[in-house]
């Protein structure tokens, strides 16, 4: 009898260990793991941008098409850019470049790989996104890059390589902050957001919200949105948040069009800033407080004569119409 009791206690002890660890792991899974879509997965690729939706010269692509007065046939500049601007520069290619100018490794588009595309090296359209795109424009493998303002590291990278880059503003966009749709906060001031990211405010109730820890989320350094956020923060230093903040209620930042149209996730909502919602109208009339320009960027020493031709066309009514119809705001 005594031996059986001891055995029972021993089995209970072992079972308890397993149960406790299982509960810990289940909690971590529910609070964090379940919400992580790694960039290597198809799920996350689709969340960044579904390249296949924006392939030029494909009748099923979701691109703006106009009766372009400019048609280039040779010396085609290689176009590349940020995820959020893929629908714009893919439309430029579609409207101006001849069929056959966009090619793929193996002859056919595939996103079943690390970067979610397989543009061939000789393709006149590429998709390297911001970080690799800035390297490509400096290294000379891309002729025109469509991106938001560069980070200080990207400016320095060009300087270190003795390369002067030209930045031509071609459109406008709102830099926005977003939260989960169930978060009761709808509006924050710029000062409140800076205090959230400097970790002076650590709980949503300090800004009129629920009693939950704030998880201020940042992005990959060098990405367009992180560079815009660094500019927004100005001299305010980022704070060091508690590792447990990740289980709280998050706030993130991005560009309006990317949030609204490219990703289009209905479970998040954009916040008004200083009482102004980031609508297209409020960008056009300059009432939204944080408006970012995006650029056509090229090397000053690039002698391809079609670069100024294409950029002039982008700044013309035709190019600006493509930008506007895609969902951005024209520069002029």
């Amino acid at each position: 009898m005594k031996g059986k009791n001891i055995l029972l206690k021993q089995l209970i002890a072992i079972t308890m260990v397993v149960v406790i660890f299982a509960m810990i792991n289940l909690s971590i899974y529910m609070l964090v793991t379940n919400r992580l879509a790694n960039n290597f997965s198809d799920t996350s690729q689709a969340k960044m941008v579904d390249v296949e939706k924006y392939l030029p010269h494909n009748p099923d692509s979701d691109l703006v098409r106009i009766d372009s007065s400019l048609k280039l046939s040779d010396n085609l500049p290689v176009l590349d850019g940020a995820a959020a601007l893929l629908p714009v520069y893919a439309a430029f290619v579609d409207n101006v470049y001849p069929k056959g100018s966009v090619t793929f490794e193996g002859g056919k588009f595939s996103d079943d790989n690390f970067y979610g595309e397989n543009f061939a090296k000789n393709s006149k359209m590429q998709y390297k996104n911001t970080v690799r795109g800035y390297q490509a424009i400096v290294d000379g493998t891309t002729d025109i890059l469509f991106c938001a303002s560069p980070s200080s590291e990207q400016v320095q990278y060009a300087k270190d390589n003795g390369i002067e880059l030209k930045y031509v503003p071609i459109g406008k966009e709102a830099f926005v902050f977003f939260v989960n749709k169930n978060n009761p906060v709808d509006n924050l001031t710029a000062e409140q957001i800076r205090k959230i990211y400097s970790c002076e405010y650590k709980n949503w109730k300090e800004v009129g919200g629920a009693d939950r820890t704030i998880n201020p989320v940042t992005r990959l350094e060098g990405s367009g949105s992180q560079s815009a956020m660094n500019a927004f923060m100005g001299d305010t230093e980022y704070g060091i948040k508690s590792p447990f903040a990740v289980t709280g209620a998050s706030i993130g930042f991005s560009f309006r069009y990317y949030m609204d149209s490219v990703v289009g996730n209905e479970d998040v909502k954009m916040l008004s800033l200083n009482g102004v919602y980031p609508s297209k109208e409020n960008i056009e009339n300059d009432t939204y407080p944080v408006i970012a320009q995006f650029f056509a960027i090229y090397r000053a020493d690039n002698e391809n004569e079609n670069i100024p031709v294409l950029i002039d066309w982008i700044l013309s009514d035709e190019g600006q119409k493509i930008i506007e119809d895609t969902g951005y705001v024209r520069i002029n």
Binding site: L7, Q10, A13, I14, V17, V18, F21, I24, N25, I28, Y29, M30, L31, V32, T33, N34, R35, L36, A37, N38, N39, F40, T43, S44, K47, M48, F178, V179, N180, K181, N182, N183, V217, R219, L220, V246, A249, S250, I251, G252, S254, M259, V263, N265, D267, V268
Partner: protein, 46 residues
């Protein structure tokens, strides 16, 4: 079971659970740095 046998089984199970939890934690830290923030916030529990 004998105390020695129990100790071996108990600490083996404990070690395996701890290793699994640490691996889970390391995966999360790594995946968090590369994840889609919009997706992460969209799936927040409220």
């Amino acid at each position: 079971m004998k105390p020695k046998t129990f100790n071996i089984i108990f600490f083996t199970v404990l070690a395996l659970c701890a290793v699994f939890t640490i691996a889970h934690f390391i995966y999360d830290v790594n995946a968090y740095q590369h994840c889609s923030i919009i997706y992460f916030i969209a799936k927040e529990l409220w």
